[in-house]
Symmetry: C2
Subunit: 338 residues, 2 copies
């Protein structure tokens, strides 16, 4: 292993100068800086993270906490955050809360406690008060994506506004019998999305003078299958088939499209379908959706975190930062026929 001493010797300076030259902290003459750089590359020297961490208290590593991994939204956010962090020279340690059992607890009680990270990005997490407390007790900056987490700066989309917009799109097209496929409550591992989205939906309806009908609400898993089964129920109703479905996520909406097809219905002629997410498959299915940008959200979270990690930072007041979204109209929605 090549150590800082080897570099110092080869460059003809002290280890302190090597440290300063390589880290950029502290004054170093141009000449020394160059000698050090040369020696370091010649020897293939890379700072030992544990030694550096121990001495400086900084780890150059951040923790990414996610409730699930295997869903498009989360991986996209993780990927965005990871690549941004890498550009800043940071490693990423991944904590996945799914899997049940004591694993979730040990993340908070053990893994996050070992001084391995400088900060945390929590993606779409719904945390218990104990967990929030344990996070704060770490004394490290935390940035939430999709939160909100109490006392934590969080990037949030306004879920009520989004689902209101989705519903208004259908209303504006002339639909009146609009159903909603929302999340099941057990899915609230990630915050209150299901509830908020339902609220926006009902708000828009009432504003248009339409009273939400209970038989037009179905809850389902946030998956293609979940949406499929829900839509089968909704669309199979012989009494009052809805003319449009607003699904709380694109994966569900895709399931709705497939269900409609299986019933011999043509989208959008017989039923309009809109989702939320901007899922990678939404374009393929011609799905009208409200795009969110999880990848960009991950990157944005990194920006904020890096700012809080900067030495001379001004601790910003925690508060929510609204995120952008866009209605993307494709071929799954149209005016109702007949």
């Amino acid at each position: 292993m090549v150590s800082i001493e080897d570099v110092a010797q080869r460059a003809g300076v002290s280890t302190a100068t090597v440290s300063r030259a390589l880290s950029g902290n502290g004054p170093v003459s141009a000449a020394a800086r160059e000698k050090v750089a040369d020696a370091a590359t010649a020897l293939g020297y890379v700072v030992s993270s544990s030694a550096s961490s121990l001495a400086s208290g900084r780890t150059k590593n951040v923790g990414l906490i996610v409730p699930y991994l295997a869903r498009w939204f989360f991986i996209s956010a993780v990927e965005g955050a990871q690549q941004a962090l890498m550009r800043h020279g940071y490693d990423v340690t991944l904590y996945n809360l799914s899997g049940g059992g004591g694993e979730r607890d040990s993340v908070f009680d053990v893994f996050l406690q070992r001084q391995r990270i400088d900060g945390i990005i929590a993606i779409s997490l719904e945390l218990s008060p104990v967990e929030v407390a344990s996070l704060h007790a770490l004394g490290k900056p935390v940035v939430g994506v999709g939160g909100p987490i109490e006392g934590v700066r969080t990037l949030t989309v306004d879920d009520v506004a989004i689902s209101r917009l989705a519903t208004e799109h259908l209303l504006a097209l002339g639909h009146e019998r609009i159903a909603h496929v929302g999340g099941s409550e057990t899915y609230d591992l990630d915050f209150h999305i299901p509830t908020n989205r339902r609220v926006g939906y009902e708000l828009a309806l009432r504003e248009a003078g339409i009273e939400p009908r209970p038989e037009y609400f179905t809850s389902a898993d946030f998956t293609i299958e979940g949406g499929y089964h829900a839509a089968k129920q909704l669309l199979g109703n012989p009494r009052s088939r809805p003319t449009a479905i607003f699904a709380a996520a694109d994966e569900m909406a895709i399931g709705c499209i497939l269900a409609a097809r299986d019933l011999g219905l043509v989208v959008p002629r017989d039923v309009s379908i809109i989702g939320i997410d901007g899922h990678e498959l939404s374009e393929f299915f011609g799905l009208t959706t409200i795009a969110q940008y999880p990848r960009a959200q991950g990157e944005h979270a990194v920006d904020i975190l890096m700012n809080e990690l900067r030495p001379g930072k001004h601790a910003e007041v925690p508060g929510n930062i609204p995120l952008g979204y866009d209605l993307i109209v494709r071929s799954s929605t149209s005016r109702p026929t007949g």
Copy 2:
């Protein structure tokens, strides 16, 4: 921050004893062990990873290298590995090679060099000789999943055998005009899968006395869209439409199913479709497939790595370990009609 000294004081022993008691290395009396455990929990003490790493040379952290993140196979493998590692008390640092640019190089030149990991799990990686050399130079154990990587223990599925089995399934049903949707060569970021799968396909055909027809081979991206477009081409052919399609991955196969439907063809009556993977959506689409178990593969890789990390380990000879797979027959394949 509560340090080992605090625990030692409270337990009335030396820091050395605390270290031994907590790590399980070295002899400690039952009495002392208990006192230490009590003190540690009372104080909420957790070993500082950097201090421990620096002193011992062990980090309790492993690196996971993946070529992409956003595909089912990879996330599943990552998830399996991550959860298994957590059970062993290991953190996971994620290195994603996608994203192009200098990022890939810096993973090998910088990130992996900082002594932050005890070992590496490389998932489905096709590495350049330089990269392999740099991996070996780390002197840390490496386990590959899906490799093979030279000089590295690797879990591999026999891709030739798998695609042969898939093709034989179709042959046994009586199909003769069997097309293959394989991977594009540019997709070879992850090893030689496309090639191997094609080889197995052609082997099975020839064995059955059928000469593979070039117009029955199409390459595509490993996505639903890729499979969709490929199948449109294949099935739109007015001269000699294949009666069956073997897709190199389930995502492609699902695309094929959707393409067939859009053409008004009924699966499997008009065309049989088989994939490979055991993708989470395969059941929903009734897709006959050859299941691999990426999650289990990730876990298995961890077992091997943990074994190599054990102090008294016998360095095993590098070699490939074959993985299991299963033909799962569903409703997308049947005898050809007419």
